[in-house]
Symmetry: C2
DNA sequence: CTCCAATTGTTGGATGTCAAACAAAACACC
DNA sequence: GGTGTTTTGTTTGACATCCAACAATTGGAG
């Protein structure tokens, strides 16, 4: 009665890694997290298709829309990016005509960031595709399971967030 | 009775992002996954301390130990890295004297990868620290919750893994 | 046997991220 | 009111990762 639960006795530590043994890696939370995030990232890119958008840039657009006029440092904090990492990302969005850096008049150091009309329009399309992507992501999960997953994720190292 | 469950009515979409609104981002699984992975990565690096080790390199050491002599392409597949990405990583491990590229005699294209004595010794220390790190990670979770978390992660886009 | 195709490790170019250093601007304080 | 400190956006340098292309080697078809 005290046997191990044997749920099929699969190789257990080889999986899709090409036959090589993975040792203790499958026992680490970070390992599974990394695989899941990679899978999500790939599916996101595929879902955006010819609209050519990454999760990070999409997140920036969403934050800008929700906080029009915020400055670069605030946007970087909200997007969990370094101030310096934001620069090339914003450059790209600006080059595509999706966002505008508007120099502040009260503080000439500050750029106020906002969506252009084209940015707002594209974001609307992107949101539809993201919704489909998200739906596919959780298609194997019930609503309760999805909620549980998010709740558990938030309870990992909560002091760091 | 069909009211929404109101579990405290917090701001819900501001959290630690510096006061900026996050729009629909907190409704996306990938968003929470990215935050959790970042937190884990940071804690991992801190846990390794002066031993100067990343999750990726640690994973490589573990795989090499479990599959001594495997070739670079196989190692890359197991570590979910591109063949070319493996090269600088292996260079670093080799420069630190932790692994050895041994040219095969049957097939002169192939390098057999294995741990050196120093690599084996360091890996032993690393494993202890990783164990502590992992323990801290899940300190807010019961064993069942941890298992549930891993199971749910594996059910996201399972066809991609 | 010869020649074409596949495999292996590597290089080079692109991207995304961070940390450190910097100039310009604003602020603080005496 | 002048001087030192802080803030802001940027530049630079360092990595890690991907993809495409490459030379060396092996294997296969005829």
């Amino acid at each position: 009665m005290s046997e191990t639960p044997r749920r099929k006795a699969r190789p257990l530590a080889a999986s899709a890694a090409g036959g090589a043994k993975l040792g203790l890696l499958p026992g680490l939370l970070g390992y599974h997290l990394r695989l899941a995030q990679r899978a999500i990232f790939d599916d996101f890119a595929a879902a955006m298709g010819e609209l050519d958008m990454s999760p990070g840039l999409f997140g920036m657009l969403v934050i800008i829309e929700a906080n029009p006029g915020l400055k670069q440092t605030e946007l970087a904090n909200a997007a969990r990016l370094d101030r310096s990492s934001l620069v090339p990302a914003l450059d790209k969005l600006e080059a595509r005509g999706l966002v505008a850096r508007r120099a502040s008049v009260e503080d000439r150091r500050v750029n106020g960031i906002s969506l252009t009309a084209a940015g707002t329009a594209l974001l609307k399309k992107l949101k539809q595709r993201v919704a489909r992507h998200e739906k596919r992501l959780v298609s194997n999960l019930t609503a309760g399971e999805r909620e549980t997953l998010v709740a558990l994720l938030q309870r990992i190292l909560p002091e760091h967030r």
